[in-house]
């Protein structure tokens, strides 16, 4: 089982060593590659998402949406990017230049760090660290500092209020989020993301966690929506009250960082939801079963490449289901009030997620075969 799938790193390093390089040098050459790939992939994902957001929003409002830039307006994200890159980078005269600059970076960086542990296949992730999902939760908790920084550094009332709201919202919903993840971890006996997916891969769609963790799944979706500051939880940038919250004073590249960060965060949350609850890269029917039916041995290289490609596609399809859901919710639900937001987080989701955790632990003791003994 452990050798299923392809090991790109091993292949790359052996190839380089065959060319006469030392093992250390080969490793040093390998290391930046996945990160580069990741940044490109995430940026591409964000571009696709912005296009989708426009198109789906338009469909929800019975408009056509962007249709001039390229076929179906697919070039609109590129136009967006060029616009943001070439805009003047305004620094308000009374703003704090250091905090103003550092804020967007601190918002953007943790999101990209989190992609380190998102698996697209057995060996298709950057680092399979043992504390996988805990790393994710910990890293994403740095974001509020950046939000506070940009809110304070802008020297603008709306920005400060937006920053404070964002940080409050972020730390309130981190608790139910972490607790619902903990219930999944309880079932998979480990924190690493690969282990979590493998634990769901036995019976195809039947063994996905969504059936065993329905309450946790709903809590996770709500909290993730709040963490990513999407409608109905977009209070930090509520246009009618706060202009644009902590982003009010930003323009050009720094604004682009916020923009990129927020979409990358949504993509990340969707990927994590897919990994935790929808079996990650696994297909509706296990690949092993298909291979056995077709009579192909598991170590067939074509099968392995096919399985890896299928894994990536499956992960992305599952993630985009959630993205679609988030965009649809944006045009369906009104924004909540700040007190409703905090009440929902602290008085409803938190107790329910505790109950869910206790329930999972009890079920695990009672039915160890179904709940990961």
């Amino acid at each position: 089982m452990t050798k299923a799938g392809i090991d790109l790193q091993l292949g790359f390093e052996t190839a380089l060593q065959n060319l006469g390089l030392g093992a250390g040098a080969a490793h040093a050459l390998w290391m930046p590659l996945p990160m580069l790939l990741l940044i490109i992939a995430a940026t591409l994902g964000v571009m696709v998402m912005t296009w989708l957001e426009r198109k789906i929003s338009a469909a929800a409002q019975q408009r056509i949406g962007p249709n001039m830039a390229g076929p179906q307006g697919v070039l609109i994200p590129i136009a967006d990017g060029i616009k943001l890159l070439t805009k003047e980078d305004v620094l308000p005269i009374l703003a704090d230049p250091v905090l103003f600059t550092l804020g967007p970076i601190l918002v953007f960086l943790p999101v990209f760090l989190c992609y380190l542990v998102v698996p697209f296949g057995q060996n298709l992730l950057i680092s399979n660290i043992a504390i996988g999902v805990f790393f994710l939760i910990a890293t994403s908790s740095v974001q509020p500092i950046g939000l506070l920084m940009s809110g304070y550094g802008s020297n603008n009332k709306y920005s400060l209020l937006g920053g404070l709201r964002a940080a409050a919202q972020s730390i309130s919903y981190e608790l139910p989020l972490a607790l619902s993840v903990l219930a999944v971890v309880l079932m998979s006996n480990g924190l690493d993301t690969v282990g979590i997916v493998e634990q769901q891969s036995g019976l195809g769609i039947l063994s996905w966690n969504v059936w065993r963790q329905p309450i946790g799944f709903v809590i996770f979706l709500i909290s993730a929506l709040a963490e990513t500051e999407r409608i109905p939880f977009d209070l930090p940038e509520a246009e009618e009250e706060l202009v644009a919250g902590y982003q009010t004073e930003y323009s050009g590249m720094k604004f682009a960082l916020f923009y990129l960060g927020s979409y990358a965060n949504l993509l990340l949350a969707s990927l994590i939801a897919a990994v935790l609850y929808l079996g990650g890269w696994s297909f509706v029917v296990p690949v092993e079963t298909i291979a056995a039916l077709a009579g192909i041995p598991l170590d067939n290289p074509f099968l392995q490449i096919g399985a890896a490609a299928l894994g990536i596609v499956m992960t992305m399809v599952k993630a985009f289901i959630f993205i679609f859901l988030a965009i649809l919710l944006r045009w369906t639900l009104p924004r909540v009030r700040i007190d409703q937001l905090l009440d929902l987080g602290w008085k409803f989701l938190l107790p329910v997620s505790f109950v869910n955790l206790l329930l999972t632990a009890a079920l695990k003791l009672a039915f160890p075969t179904f709940f990961g003994g």
């Binding site: 490793h27 040093a28 043992a130 504390i131 790393f135 939760i137 910990a138 908790s141 500092i145």
Partner: protein, 202 residues
């Protein structure tokens, strides 16, 4: 020295310098907001040092708890309290700073001498997953402190609510107004008040 060791050494030096630099920044920063943000830097550098010691779980917990919760809370408190005091420079302030510096440097020298002269019992770090080791400890020899910590947290929760709760019924001063039953000591009259009184009696 292999590549790994070199990387470790450089990382250690960088992280330590960061931790010390941020800590100095916390003390010396002119604005308390800067101090708050720099504190986050100290915590992050400490998390990096934990990572170097193979304590990945502790490092992540450090980030989650200290940066994600404690530091954010401190920043919240700073940003919600918008008081600006101008402190008059203390008389002989340089003397205080000097004495503090001497005491701190003396302590530092003492601790350095101690750290260098002591034959520490060193053990190589076992490269096992720290989560499993910690879980084992929690439910074996540290079971009792682990359980007591739950009572501690419950009490802290209740205490925080007691302190933060808004009292809807505010009785008249005197009985049951949530103050000590012993009367406060009568305030000493200040010079200006006495002057005012003298004027009025005249």
């Amino acid at each position: 020295m292999t590549l790994g060791e070199g990387v470790q050494l450089v990382t250690f030096v960088v992280l330590s310098a960061m931790a010390i630099g941020f800590a100095l920044g916390v003390v010396w920063a002119p604005s308390i907001v800067y101090s708050g943000f720099l504190l986050g830097g100290v915590f992050l550098s400490m998390a990096g040092l934990y990572l170097l010691l193979n304590a990945d779980f502790v490092a992540a917990a450090q980030v989650l708890i200290y940066v994600g919760a404690v530091n954010v809370l401190i920043l919240f408190a700073i940003m919600l309290v918008n008081r600006r005091y101008t402190f008059a420079p203390l008389k002989l302030g340089w003397l205080r700073n000097g004495v503090t510096a001497v005491v701190c440097l003396g302590l530092f020298a003492l601790l350095t001498a101690m750290a260098l002269n002591t034959p520490w019992q060193l053990e190589p770090i076992q490269p096992t997953s720290s989560v499993l080791v910690m879980g084992g400890h929690f439910f074996r020899e540290y079971l009792l402190p682990f359980e007591l910590a739950s009572v501690l947290l419950l009490m802290a929760l209740i205490g925080a609510i007691v302190l933060a709760r808004r009292e809807f019924v505010i009785p008249q001063a005197g009985e049951g107004d949530l103050s000590l039953l012993e009367r406060a000591r009568p305030q000493l009259e200040s010079e200006s008040e006495r002057q005012a009184e003298l004027v009025s009696t005249r």
